[in-house]
């Protein structure tokens, strides 16, 4: 088709434009984070690059604590989410289960409900409850709150993996007298690990980036990176460069983990909602 090869440049132009449209905001975060001199008269490009802003944020005790909080909370949320969702995903997803009872179907349906909820509404419902039972501004309280949104994502990823395991494996093991715990450990665990990893990564990245629940239920005792980023752009002290440098501690791990999910699970079954 000569017309197609002649107008190949149109394809490149459009794809280039789309790539630029997607990458430009990401590049801007890096520019702000590494620009140490940027005069208003030369607004299109910084005049000097360096790591001053990183040095500055890494010498602030508050910010370092916020970083440690963020990564620690995200790690605990991931482990707890996998612990809660793995056995349930087996019941919901394994093809040997046949027709689950109506109660189990109800729990499965209800587990997806938080995905459609505005997080703020769950947060203000939890606030008086937490105050009553002493979980307000506490580490366990924040972990549990983050799990509300992490659980449905992890569950969906894991159920998809359980669905792909042929039922004959479990049936053969059962005929040989294996207990259910042994079947879960020796048969399912090695086969569903990509889904488990994807679920864990979603839980980790959700928790790492979560903002409103920390603001409502954790602040001021527990601060995380998103709260600190907000202080630099929406608080009383505006500083886009430090916000960008700090934002990279969220952006880089999140994109790296999502790249890993893309490589591990060839599915876009789990797409984050909310913003």
């Amino acid at each position: 088709m000569p017309k197609r090869s002649d107008s190949r440049w149109v394809d490149w132009l459009v794809i280039g434009l789309v790539v630029w449209l997607i990458l430009f905001p990401v590049v801007v975060v890096f520019l702000y984070a590494f620009a140490t001199k940027w005069f208003p008269s030369h607004w299109w490009w910084p005049q000097e690059f360096g790591i001053n802003w990183f040095r500055k944020i890494l010498t602030s005790n508050n910010i370092v604590t916020a970083m440690l909080n963020s990564y620690l909370i995200a790690a605990v949320v991931t482990l707890a989410t996998i612990g809660v969702t793995f056995p349930a995903a087996y019941v919901f997803g394994a093809r040997t289960q046949g027709n689950n009872g109506s109660f189990i179907q109800l729990v499965e349906g209800f587990s997806n409900i938080p995905l459609a909820f505005p997080t703020i509404t769950v947060g203000i419902g939890l606030l008086p409850f937490y105050a009553k039972i002493g979980l307000l501004s506490s580490f366990p309280g924040v972990v549990l709150a983050h799990m509300i949104m992490a659980v449905p994502y992890a569950l969906r990823a894991m159920v998809s993996s359980f669905l792909m395991v042929p039922p004959e494996y479990e049936e053969a093991a059962r005929n040989l007298g294996a207990s259910r715990a042994l079947i879960l450990r020796k048969i399912y665990l090695p086969l569903v690990w990509p889904g488990m990893m994807a679920g864990g990564i979603f839980a980790f990245s959700w928790s790492l980036n979560e903002f409103v629940l920390i603001l409502l239920l954790g602040y001021p005792n527990i601060e995380t990176i998103p709260v600190q980023v907000y202080q630099f752009v929406g608080g009383y002290y505006l500083h886009p460069q430090q916000a960008a440098a700090l934002g990279l501690f969220l952006l880089v791990p999140t994109l790296a983990l999502m790249f890993l999910v893309e490589r591990t699970v060839k599915s876009s079954a789990v797409v984050p909602a909310g913003a």
Binding site: D11, I15, V18, L21, I22, P25, V26, V28, V29, V84, T85, P87, Y90, V91, Q97, G98, N100, I104, S111, L115, F117, P118, T119, I120, T121, V122, I124, G125, L126, L127, P128, F129, M147, I148, V151, L155, S205, L208, N209, F211, V212, L215, P226, V229, Y230, V233, G234, P240, A243, A244, G247, L250, L251, T254, L255, M258, V271, P272, A273, A275
Partner: protein, 292 residues
């Protein structure tokens, strides 16, 4: 299934069930009861049945309906823009037979995976008067075309421009990924037959692609709408002090102003609307699967 196995299943889902009951049901029940004034869990709640919160919410002279309308309007515009961009790109790649390789496939999804607060921040620095888009906007509209004395605010503006721009950027890849996937599944002979009969591209899109994409396209539209409708970080950072997005309105009422009755009432209305959208989304998704 044997009773022992059933009991085993119930034990396996027990941690999840307890978690959902305590962490999802309890706050929902608290919000629901408090919206009718039936609890005293927060200051200002009367502890007896009242419809005052709902009367205030639906009173046109009060700000709540304005916040709901503003949220709807901004979300709708964002959904239209993001879906149109996604549809346009998917159709372009389909007609030009451009293959989506692994690198491009990941690249297109980058906005979906961006941390919300970092995305809100980057659009704040792009759109504020000293940001790239802010400066270019001023050069074009004020200095070159002289359409105004000074450039209108693009961030924290009363029209929600920054929220629309940021939301469209974040959500257009989702529409693209869904529509691109659906286009791959269409029978190519339909398009070939139409071309043989002399149909132009526009007519093929209108008469073949759009009707066949139907419910799949609708599910993408509804999920994009829902995703922004329940958003907090983006309107919180980029929105104006008034009109407010509904999520920000709930936060400001409850946390900043201590008006918990309004906060809980707005929350319940918010949840009902979000669940209604989610219900239509699941129905559209089920129909899309049935038609696939």
């Amino acid at each position: 299934m044997s009773p022992r196995r059933q009991l085993g299943n119930l034990l396996l889902i027990a941690p999840l069930t307890i978690f959902l009951l305590v962490m999802v049901m309890v706050p929902l029940v608290i919000a629901m009861l408090s919206s009718f004034g039936l609890t005293t869990v927060a200051p200002g709640l009367p502890g007896h049945f009242t419809l005052q919160g709902y009367r205030d919410f639906f009173d046109p002279s009060k700000p709540s309906l304005q916040a709901l309308w503003f949220t709807f309007k901004v979300t709708l515009i964002t959904t239209v823009i993001s879906t149109s961009l996604g549809l346009g790109l998917a159709l372009f790649m389909h007609f030009r037979k451009i293959r989506l390789n692994a690198a491009l496939s990941f690249l297109v999804k980058v906005p979906l995976f961006m941390p919300y607060l970092v995305t809100a921040f980057v659009f704040w620095v792009l759109l504020y008067p000293r940001g790239y888009i802010g400066i270019i906007f001023e050069i074009i509209f004020v200095e070159f075309f002289r359409l105004a004395e000074e450039a209108p605010a693009l961030v924290a503006d009363p029209y929600g421009i920054a929220i629309i721009v940021c939301g469209s950027w974040m959500r257009f890849p989702y529409a693209f990924v869904i529509i691109h996937g659906l286009l791959q599944m269409l029978d190519p002979s339909l398009e070939e037959a139409a071309r043989t009969l002399g149909a132009r591209t526009g007519r093929i899109v209108r008469r073949i692609h759009l009707p066949l994409l139907g419910y799949g396209l609708l599910s993408a539209v509804l999920l994009n709408f829902l995703a922004l409708f329940i958003a907090f970080s983006i309107p919180f950072v980029l929105g104006a002090s008034w009109p407010q997005f509904l999520s920000v309105f709930v936060y400001v009422n409850a946390k900043d102003q201590g008006n918990w009755l309004a906060g809980y009432t707005t929350s319940v209305v918010y949840i009902c609307v979000a669940l209604a959208i989610a219900y239509f989304y699941t129905r559209a998704l089920a129909k899309a699967r049935k038609h696939a």
